[in-house]
């Protein structure tokens, strides 16, 4: 018996939706196995990892708080990936958004009024956009590979942020902790649900989802972006302005990631600290792929990713396992997705005793020729 992959001839729509679900199931099976190896009951561990985070309203609110920035970043990334622009820099753009937003907040520390928070958020958006403008500029005018430039910018932005909290932005009355001063009420996100940390910023993810959907599905620019990503030569022959599209994709993504960063410092954190993101920008890459680069898919995938973050915290508290479990699940999820995606273009065919058939056909052939020869 031999198992073979056979080209379908055309892409299977069904499989493109089934593949993320299959990947999630495989991840869970492997995760259960991992817990079992570690000497925990798989059922109990999976319950702690997946069900406990959504077992009461406070935790669900917490899940949404985590999903917000992930979804914002993933929405932006999906536009870039559609255009075949491999922006890995959402993390750095998020950090820059948080940093520039914090600078604005600290400059306006004594100001009061409803306008303060929007100013801080816009500063964050601009910070993220400026950071994303660097790889866009380098790609457009120097042909610099955006994967490497955005990765390097992630490390650079983290160090600039650390410089900020250890140096000029450090709270003078903060006992020398690497933290900025606490933001005032005018500078922090209003809480949407009393008793939880669910804040206004989470709703931005929904607005972003609608915005990205309209852009990609209803406008000519969205069409141009998809053509550019699908076949660069076609976009060129159609006369689309490729450079302008690259600018646009990266700036939108930078803006959304910057907003996510500003939303974190003005939302659940309330000040600038060294670790404003537990890798949300990297997780967003997985989310974008898992959500099939579609806004609605990204929303669901973002919730799943937030669940993985929450689950990591839960197993740390209740089962005494390291928080890094989240990272293992993230990696498995993306790998399984890539593996399952083969089913979109190929079907699995099982040949029963294939080698025998080959032999038979060979043994029949020669006599037929011999007869003809006579």
């Amino acid at each position: 018996m031999r198992i073979k992959l056979e080209a379908r001839g055309q892409q299977s729509r069904l499989m493109s939706y089934a593949s993320p679900i299959l990947a999630a199931v495989l991840t869970l099976i492997c995760g259960a196995f991992l817990f079992w190896i570690l000497g925990k009951s798989p059922i109990q561990a999976l319950h702690t990892f997946l069900i406990m985070p959504i077992s009461d309203p406070y935790r669900i609110a917490e899940l949404l708080v985590k999903a917000g920035p992930i979804v914002l970043c993933a929405m932006g990334l999906s536009i870039c990936f559609r255009a075949n622009v491999w922006n890995i820099g959402a993390e750095g753009q998020l950090l820059m958004g948080g940093l520039v937003g914090s600078c604005a907040a600290l400059a306006l520390l004594d100001s009061q009024g409803i306008w303060v928070l929007p100013v801080v958020l816009v500063a964050g958006i601009l910070g993220g956009m400026a950071w994303a403008a660097i790889p866009a500029f380098l790609k457009n005018y120097f042909n610099t590979n955006e994967i490497l430039s955005t990765i390097m910018l992630n490390y650079i932005s983290l160090n600039i942020l650390l410089h900020g909290v250890h140096g000029p932005l450090k709270d003078p009355n903060g006992f020398n902790f690497p933290e900025s001063a606490l933001f005032s009420d005018w500078q922090t996100m209003p809480i949407l649900l009393e008793g939880t940390r669910l804040h206004l910023g989470v709703s931005f993810a929904l607005f972003a989802m609608v915005g990205v959907w309209v852009l990609m599905s209803k406008t000519f620019i969205g069409f141009q972006i998809k053509v550019l990503g699908g076949d660069e030569r076609s976009a060129h022959f159609a006369g689309f302005k490729e450079k302008r599209l690259v600018w646009l994709c990266l700036l939108i993504c930078g803006g959304l990631a910057g907003l996510a960063g500003a939303g974190e410092v003005t939302g659940p954190i309330g000040q600038l600290v060294p670790n404003i993101s537990p890798g949300y920008g990297y997780a967003a890459i997985i989310v974008a792929f898992l959500g099939r680069l579609h806004p609605l898919g990204i929303l669901f995938a973002g919730l799943l990713m937030a669940l993985l973050y929450m689950g990591g915290e839960m197993v740390q508290i209740h089962l005494d396992l390291p928080l890094a479990v989240t990272g293992v699940f993230q990696g498995m999820l993306l790998l399984f997705l890539l593996i399952c995606d083969v089913l979109i273009g190929y079907r699995i065919v099982i040949h029963k005793s294939a080698p025998k058939i080959v032999k038979q056909s060979l043994s029949i052939e020669p006599p037929a020729v011999a007869i003809e020869g006579k």
């Binding site: 992959l5 890995i88 430039s149 390097m152 160090n159 600039i160 890094a324 990272g327 995606d341």
Partner: protein, 307 residues
Amino acid sequence: MDIDFIANILFATIRMGTPLLIVAIGELVCEKSGVLNLGQEGMMLMGAVAGFMIAFHTDSLFIGFMGSVVAGALMALLFAVVTMHFYANQVATGLALTILGVGLSGFMGRSYVGEALTNVDFQIPLLSSIPFFGKVLFSHDVLVYISIGLAGAVYWFFKSTRAGLVVKAVGESPESAQSLGLSVLKVRYLAIVFGGAMAGLAGGYLSLIDTPLWAENMTAGRGWIALALVVFASWRVERAVFGAYLFGFMSIMHLVLQSFGLSVSSNLLATLPYVATVVVLVLLSRNQQRIKLFAPMSLGKSFHGAH
């Protein structure tokens, strides 16, 4: 500025450049066969954590290094299976490998954070006591010399052996190579696993000799810098050696600058190697023709010829 200071700088340059050199050599071989593996960071981290854990329990650096190599190679094997049998995009799979490596290494090494190995000093007798040159050239750990030997071996491999020619042929045109009866899959498997083993070894260098301890994400982007290094070297071994030490120098620039009395924040100085990488990439990729000329033709493309 005295001569001891220069000797120290050169010593540190070679030491910092060594892990970069090891990864870059591995990735160079891998890319020569037409495979772009962006998972260097993940493979390095797995090599670092596996090496540390094993060395910690066996008290043997050698067995630790074996563990590093095997861990890196296993990660690379995973990459090879996913990209070659499931036709997954090499860029995405490399990213996945990095994300998995970061998570898995952090998970495995959790209880080893804060532990330290008793450092094993290795010095060449006599030669290392020569003034200046002794310090710069002969007082390193054994991995430094192994890495240079490896670079020489890979140079010779591509320049003078038939197998080297086969790897290059597969990287330039897998279809032609297959029609000549060469096994594209076999060649690429070997190249990918070699790349992983080297990345693992470099990770082990960091956790077993350089620091020597385990910390989450301790590679700090060196895997990515090595990827840029291969582009910088235009896929040539001798330039990769030069580039690795150049980048090694960049990562100790802050020590140099501080010694000149420059008081810049250490966090800002820590960005120097990354900034340098971007600058080098920009300078090199301005001329797209040049990259096209040197890069293996099939780099990054899935090969669907063999089932």
